[in-house]
Amino acid sequence: DVKVTQSSRYLVKRTGEKVFLECVQDMDHENMFWYRQDPGLGLRLIYFSYDVKMKEKGDIPEGYSVSREKKERFSLILESASTNQTSMYLCASSARQGPEKLFFGSGTQLSVL
């Protein structure tokens, strides 16, 4: 089974802090994604990566950046955390190009105080 592991289940940070969310997948998937889930808004795509060092903006990239230095690892960075970035963050991967299902991690609930 594919495993997508997010390093933290819960995080509490202060406004203005730089925050790193880490995600690792163990199935050599080409694509990795970061979504956030908010009540009433569903899952919204922040960034995705289709190869090492390659990234593209999703629908809500403002205030975020990403890094993919190795194929199995995709990091989401909040450069200066703000309270409106309090959310559930979900990492996902998919095997290859074309219509593929997403495999999700367990999520990181981030609270920015």
Partner: protein, 113 residues
């Protein structure tokens, strides 16, 4: 503008009966659709998918129907079980290369024993 809509935020069904969850989309370019189930504090888990070249796909108790002319899909769960109580998301994707999925806002299903 919400490209994928789940207009029913919640649904209650008696155990053993059919659950029908609906999803509408606006972009006729979408050609692959996914359904996910999500429990609180967990990542979404894949349920079933359908390609636009089909109008039905079945997997055990789960069947997805696609009506392209109406830009509508539905997930049928028969028979419903208490363990099916969760939030259900539909997602739609399109394009060449990496498929990026747009998710609906979710429907909370409660199956009553």
């Amino acid at each position: 503008d919400q490209q994928v809509k789940q207009n029913s935020p919640s649904l209650s069904v008696q155990e053993g009966r059919i659950s029908i969850l609906n999803c509408d989309y606006t972009n006729s370019m979408f050609d692959y659709f996914l359904w996910y189930k999500k429990y609180p504090a967990e990542g979404p888990t894949f349920l079933i998918s359908i390609s636009s070249i089909k109008d039905k796909n079945e997997d055990g108790r789960f069947t997805v129907f696609l009506n392209k002319s109406a830009k509508h899909l539905s997930l049928h769960i028969v028979p419903s079980q208490p363990g099916d109580s969760a939030v259900y998301f539909c997602a739609a994707g399109a394009g060449s290369g990496t498929y990026k999925y747009i998710f609906g806002t979710g429907t909370r299903l409660k199956v009553l024993a």
